[in-house]
């Protein structure tokens, strides 16, 4: 199932710290190419519920006078919110990474990382990045076709600086997404079947990241409260930055919180890893 993790890393004469990770990245890309049809199907099937959600919103707006806003969204703005969520999600979602990490621990494949001068977190991060490269290119075709049909609702960043700030926040969202998945998968050191924890985490993420609906249509208190959790910085925040909906003090506070959560997630991941190793008994290897 996991061609990537069982593959021993070829011993190439590495010249620097980075070259070995660049190598992991390219091996990862080659291995993930196996999944390209899978990814294509996944992206195409994923558009079915997206279209359904858009139809549902259109039905809601249809009963109101034209131009009515729900929360602060007109119908066109609501549609463009969901379109951008789809795009950011294609860039950052974890595909198989958490299950692969759990399998690495279960079948003892992490042992080799304890013996080699290779950091497991950095190794998995490279594989995550290579997976994203392949997924995004596979998803490009169905998503582009869908976006073309919805092109009148697809808007550029509200402000020119959105072109810089939005990619930056997407990048941090990707890091945060990876670190959360990585840490949850590390629970395999303690529990037999980590998939329940993955699904529980994902349920909270689905709601609080803004995947289901934009968080600012919630009552204001609840919306403000959620912004202190890490989840909005996975989707809602990057999309809001792009659309120019988050501005001024909120923007800087958002970036501060996003960076803080990335740093915190990194420290937690490191901590869980070191505690997990104490529990680790290499099975097989």
């Amino acid at each position: 199932m996991t061609p990537v993790s069982t593959d021993p890393i070829p011993a190439t004469p590495s010249t620097g710290l980075w070259s070995k990770y660049v190598h992991v990245l390219s091996v990862g890309i080659q291995n993930t190419l196996v999944y390209r049809t899978n990814f294509l199907f996944r992206a195409a099937f994923g558009l079915v519920p997206l279209a359904a959600t858009l139809f549902l919103w259109e039905a809601i707006y249809a009963d109101k006078p034209t131009g009515t806003a729900i929360g602060a969204y007109t119908l066109a703005q609501m549609v463009s919110y969901y379109l951008l969520v789809t795009v950011v999600d294609a860039f950052t979602a974890v595909a198989e990474d958490d299950w692969q990490i759990a399998a690495d621990i279960k079948d003892g494949a992490v042992s080799q990382f304890l013996l080699k001068p290779l950091d497991f977190l950095a190794y998995r991060l490279c594989l995550y990045l290579s997976g994203r490269v392949i997924y995004t290119s596979a998803a490009l075709i169905p998503v582009a076709v869908f976006l073309f049909f919805q092109r009148e609702n697809l808007v550029g960043p509200a402000e020119p600086w959105g072109w810089i700030l939005a990619p930056l926040s997407v990048l941090m969202a990707g890091l945060l997404q990876f670190l959360i998945a990585y840490t949850v998968a590390l629970l395999s050191f303690w529990v037999l079947d980590v998939s329940t924890f993955i699904f529980i985490q994902f349920a909270f993420e689905f709601l609080a990241s803004g995947h289901l609906f934009p968080l600012d249509i919630l009552p204001d208190g609840l919306h403000r409260l959620l912004l202190w959790s890490p989840y909005p910085y996975l989707l809602y925040f990057p999309v809001g930055v792009y659309l120019g909906r988050i501005q001024g003090a909120d923007l800087w506070q958002g970036f501060a919180l996003q960076s803080a959560w990335v740093a915190a997630a990194f420290l937690i991941a490191r901590f869980v890893w070191s505690r997990g190793l104490r529990k680790y008994t290499a099975v097989g290897g």
Partner: protein, 267 residues
Amino acid sequence: MPSFSRYAGIYSALIRYSLIHEMQFKVNFLLWIVVEALWFGLQLAFMTVLYGHTDQIAGWSRWEVVLLVGCNQFIQQLFHTLFVTNLSNLSELIRKGTLDLLLLQPVNTRFLISVKKFEIGNIVNALMGLVVIAYALAQLGRVPTPAQWLGFVVVCLAGLSVHYSLMFLLACISFWTVRAQGIVWGYYNLFNIARLPAEAFPRGAYRAVFTWVLPMLLVSNVPAKLLAQRLASPWEWLALLGMAAACFVVSELFWRFSLRHYTSASA
């Protein structure tokens, strides 16, 4: 009917075995119930948020939609209890060649593949669906007659059969491509639209496909409308029964066709 009692005997043995297997991992068993309950809660939360901004969606009031989500949960969880694990396992059976063993058993192979594992935990989640249905009916002030409850059971079985036939059909693609897991899991995305009111979709290709090809917009909508007493005409439930029969026949034909293409993977 000796054949019926024989199959009933085999099925009860399979259920007993699944139970024993499940009880080895009690915490995990409970956690899966929690997972499914959380996702159910999520669907209800989504509808609550929507109805915070509107009184009706395509003619459906808040509690009618809750009823719909409950019906969908009930059918989907029964589907999980009986079939989902087994059907998503088919590609593994083919890849490892374990299917040979099942083909040689003196029992209908499709039966064995479909019902091997019984997921008892999902019954708890199906009951949660029923509770939500009852609560929504009380809020709507509707009391279905015994005949309507009977009709509800029939259309739920038809919806269950639609899900089963379609996922079985998709799983059979594994006879050609080994990595069909992605296609099978894609079916989960189709599930998602079954809990939405069919009237919210404009008349067009999308609604036609998901009514007459992959009848997702019938499986939960018809039972919910029946209980809410808002079926426009008997054609609605006849359409569901007809589509259920059609899907089953197509899946059986495709299964026989696939088997002829089976080349064993084991020695």
